[in-house]
């Protein structure tokens, strides 16, 4: 098994002047991990994956797999010599070959004896729950089944690294849910290093050991799902990882001692402010909607406001609360507590789960 070390990797496409597709990426993907490259379209995640696969040649930087250098600007080991597997967004299951022929393709190239190859194909098809469909053509399979064929085809050659390019984005919601669970289990069972590209933050949170959040060709944050969700490195990450409110405020000295607080309108919130912020600095406080509790009574770390809108969403109710000073707050609470539109409320912020960003900074 092998990890991937990426150093100073850049790539820009000819004819595109609006910035590089990928700029000086450093990324250390450890062995046996499920690593997700997450970001909106055009963020450079697919470019990164294709650089790792060897379909693209980097402008600068190197890619190492284990001890071996596989890509430099001068020389790129071709995809067929990398011993990786790849699953494509459109499955790329060959329509003119049966399921069996698709899966056995890589084994034939490795000159595995027919009997042994047959055994391994059957084993792998069982692993992805496709036993019995060996002689079908891809055209006779559903999207989910085709996706499993693509998986089996990559897994049967026992790659050290499996690259997955938005493999679930063409499936319907139910199937996507089930395939997520299967992918996670598969990665655990095989111990293969998975590099997974997606724009779906829920998918990334559920599957990954590590998430690399990318935006505009640059790596924004690299960390565990909990880190990137609870402690986003910047506003881009905070915004991309889920719904977030940015409350405009100012850093103030704390009345009791050296610590400092964030003042929103007239209320001081006891947020953990890093020493890098000077007193008086204009800041945005990132608050996730689930970290707010609505109440009819005043309390500590509570902002007074008025309910503007209320939406029942099944497992929770969403409120839009107008706060003084042009701030508004999106809140998600348990549907049992009910607040009417127009009624005054107090929004109590769980300050331990908030992050402070400099205003106007990204």
């Amino acid at each position: 098994m092998a990890g991937i070390q990426i150093k100073g990797l850049s790539k820009s496409y000819a004819g595109k002047d609006d910035g590089a597709a990928l700029e000086s990426l450093d990324l250390d993907i450890r062995d046996n991990q499920f690593v997700t490259l997450l970001g909106p379209s055009g963020c450079g995640k697919t470019t990164t994956l294709r650089l790792i696969a060897g379909y693209l040649k980097p402008d600068t930087g190197t890619i190492r797999v284990g001890e071996r250098i596989v890509s430099t600007p001068g020389e790129v080991a071709p995809p067929e010599r990398r011993g990786m597997g790849m699953v494509f967004q459109n499955y790329a299951v060959w329509p003119h070959k049966t399921v069996y022929e698709n899966v056995v393709f890589g084994l034939k190239l490795r000159r595995i004896a027919t009997a042994e190859a047959r055994r391994r194909v059957e084993e792998t098809l069982a692993l992805v729950n496709l036993s019995g469909l060996e002689q079908r053509f891809p055209g006779e399979l559903s999207g989910g089944q085709q996706q499993r064929v693509a998986l089996a085809r990559s897994l049967v050659v026992e790659p050290e690294i499996l690259l997955l390019d938005e493999p679930l984005s063409n499936l319907d919601a139910k199937l996507r849910e089930r395939m997520r669970v299967e992918l996670k289990q598969l990665q655990r069972r095989t111990g293969i290093t998975f590099v997974y590209v997606t724009h779906d933050q829920g998918e990334a949170l559920e599957l990954s050991d590590q998430i690399a959040v990318m935006h505009g060709g640059r790596l924004q944050q690299y960390g565990t799902p909990e880190e990137v969700y609870r402690r986003p490195a910047n506003k881009i990450v905070a915004d991309f990882m889920g719904i977030v409110n940015f409350l405009t405020g100012e850093v103030r000295p704390s009345p009791n001692g050296n610590a400092r607080v964030v003042r929103i309108s007239d209320v001081d919130l006891a947020v953990d402010v890093s020493p890098a912020f000077e007193v008086g600095a204009p800041v945005d406080l990132a608050v996730r909607p689930e970290n707010v509790r609505l109440s009819r009574k005043a309390g500590g770390n509570a902002l007074e406001g008025r309910v503007r809108e209320k939406t029942f969403l099944g497992n929770f109710t969403e409120y839009w609360v107008d706060l003084p000073g042009n701030n508004s707050l999106r809140v998600q609470t348990h549907p049992v507590e009910k607040f009417e539109v127009g009624s005054p409320v107090f929004a109590e912020i769980d300050t331990g789960e908030c992050t402070v960003f400099r205003r106007n900074a990204a």
Binding site: A14, A53, G54, Y55, T62, V65, R68, I69, V70, S71, T72, G74, E75, V76, A77, P78, P79, E80, R81, R82, G83, M84, G85, M86, F88, Q89, N90, A92, W94, P95, H96, F105, G106, L109, R110, A150, R153, S154, V157, L163
Partner: protein, 580 residues
């Protein structure tokens, strides 16, 4: 710092990549294109300005001042213009009837257009000569002897030449116009109508501007195609002393051959063709906003009421004149002992026996054409596949040049291609190709390689690159990926392309007429020579053999589902220079 492949031995591999199958095949294709197209055209240019004593413009001067050359140029332009205009007159109503009305028997219209395009004009010319030659033409004889009026139609005139040529070229306008009409979504017209525009006003202000570029483009294709046809211009034009560019260039090869003048005249010919094609592309490009909406477009059908029978009558008339009349005539002639008013008194199979079993020249010609067409089509398709692959799948520098080079033959009329090949291979020492099968093959592959490239290009674009990439990452080499994945997937498209080349090559005349020898005589040349020597009835039999081969090829194509790729889109744009 060297890149270490996972499978090891980095140094060896880096070196061996220069000699890999991939570079060998790609390099071979590029070289082939250079030899087939680029070098002959360059040597044509050289020959037109170089004489025994250095660089000269005298060839061009003579070509542009000599009376006989100017007359040929003028005749070609007159012919092309009339044909372009009349192709619109016939093609647009048919296209409109086909795509926008509730006229019955629509398959008849489609069949008429397809057959008219496929029918080689030198055969229809011969058929109409049998009907309308001033002395012996059946219709004229009938009018003179049986009816007693001497007002017959003389086919050996510009009118006759335009008439025969239009029957072959109107499908260009028809196909482009009908596909444009079909891709104008009804919502455009409905939007105008809901705002208060009448049907006529809608047609004039919305529909017509949207399809006009396609019609103009079709007319230009008809023009280019018409002036390149050697066969009809020789068969109908020469007896009437109407000399055109192809026939004038041809006569320059009478002993002693005047290569320099032929080259200069050829380049003038190319200039006209390229200019027309450039305009055609420009018009077609303006059509793009129609095709953008083309997906799932739902054209508005007009209920014509009783008028649809009038329109149908017009379509039937076109069918009779363009298909039934010439081929009925050829069939009748081929079974008659001696063509005349009472030909049905003495029907015979002798003509077929003669050309198929007794006369070795025609037998050889049939076999030669079948072999040449098979080999040429195969070469075109493989060359096309590789060039198409380079264009669609690689970022190779210069691949655009390659793409253009493969389009150059579209601007070369058949006879010009032959002049260029002769010019080039006569200047190459030690290699004697004149009179060999090889030079015919080079001419055919060179002329029709654009069809192969187009077929491969369009099928490759339908195949997602990830299908190839996923084979590569599983460890498959370039060659293995091509063999296992790419070629099997584009096979239907390649097969359609193969037939698209095979059909015109079987009946190629314009280039073959300058390149054949008694050993390498081809079907079309045999027809022409036999006709020249006055074998009226065996010529018709040979023409029927020609048509039979084509019909079998087309039937095969349809049977194998290749018609899915359609003669519609491919023929109309691709085969400029067509069946000549």
């Amino acid at each position: 710092m060297s890149v270490t492949a996972i499978a090891g031995e980095p140094r060896m591999r880096a070196a061996s990549r220069w000699f890999s199958l991939e570079s060998f095949v790609l390099g071979g294709a590029i070289l082939a294109l250079v030899v087939l197209v680029v070098l002959p055209v360059l040597s044509l240019v050289v020959a037109s300005v170089v004489s025994g004593d250095g660089v000269t413009l005298s060839y061009f001067e003579r070509a542009l001042t000599g009376n006989s050359y100017l007359r040929a140029l003028g005749n070609s332009l007159v012919l092309g213009s009339w044909v372009g205009l009349l192709s619109v007159v016939i093609g647009v109503p048919l296209a409109w009837a086909m795509s926008r009305t509730n006229m019955p028997c629509k398959p008849l219209v489609q069949a008429t257009a397809t057959l008219s395009y496929l029918a080689p004009p030198f055969l229809t010319s011969i058929a109409f000569v049998n009907l309308f030659s001033p002395n012996a033409g059946l219709v004229n004889v009938f009018l003179r002897d049986a009816v007693g009026v001497n007002v017959g139609f003389d086919i050996f005139t510009m009118t006759g030449l335009v008439f025969v040529t239009v029957l072959h070229t109107f499908p260009f306008v028809y196909l482009l116009a009908s596909s444009a009409l079909q891709s104008v979504d009804a919502s455009y017209e409905e939007a105008a109508q809901i705002l208060g525009a009448s049907k006529l006003r809608t047609a004039l202000t919305i529909t017509a501007p949207l399809v006009a570029p396609a019609i103009l483009s079709g007319a230009l294709l008809a023009f280019v195609n018409a002036i390149a046809l050697f066969g009809s211009q020789a068969i109908i034009g020469l007896p009437g002393r109407i000399v055109t560019l192809p026939t004038r260039i041809y006569s320059l090869f009478d002993y002693p051959p005047q290569y320099g003048l032929a080259a200069a005249l050829s380049l003038l010919f190319v200039a006209i063709t390229v200019l027309a094609l450039y305009l055609q592309r420009a018009f077609l490009a303006r059509r793009s906003y129609v095709t953008l909406a083309g997906k799932g477009a739902r054209p508005q059908l007009i209920d014509l009421g009783a008028w649809r029978w009038v329109l149908l009558a017009l379509c039937v008339l076109v069918f009779i004149v363009a298909i039934a009349l010439p081929f009925g005539t050829l069939i009748a002639v081929s079974f008659s002992k001696s063509w005349g008013l009472d030909f049905w008194h003495n029907l015979t199979l002798d003509n077929y026996r003669f050309i198929l079993f007794q006369y070795d020249v025609t037998r050889r010609a049939i076999v030669n054409s079948l072999i040449l067409a098979t080999v040429a089509a195969t070469f075109c398709v493989f060359l096309g596949a590789i060039i198409g692959w380079i264009d669609v799948r690689t970022k190779m520098p210069g691949r655009k040049f390659l793409d253009y080079a493969s389009l150059v033959p579209l601007g070369l009329p058949g006879i010009v291609m032959a002049v260029a090949l002769l010019q080039f291979w006569l200047s190459v020492p030690y290699i004697v190709l004149y009179g060999t099968f090889t030079i015919l093959l080079l001419a055919y592959v060179g002329r029709y390689v654009p069809l192969g490239v187009r077929a491969a290009n369009s099928s490759l674009r339908q195949i997602d690159p990830s299908l190839e990439e996923s084979a590569r990452i599983l460890g498959s080499s370039w060659g293995n990926t091509m063999r296992e994945i790419t070629l099997p997937l584009i096979r239907p498209g390649l097969f359609a392309g193969w037939l698209l080349v095979f059909v015109p090559v079987v009946q190629e005349l314009s280039a073959s007429i300058l390149l054949f020898s008694s050993k390498t005589i081809t079907l079309a040349v045999a027809v022409y020579n036999l006709y020249e020597t006055g074998y009226t009835e065996p010529v018709a039999a040979l023409a029927m053999v020609n048509m039979t081969i084509i019909v079998i090829a087309i039937a095969l194509a349809r049977r194998l589902g290749a018609s899915r790729l359609g003669f519609k889109t491919q023929n109309s744009n691709a085969s400029v220079g067509g069946t000549a």
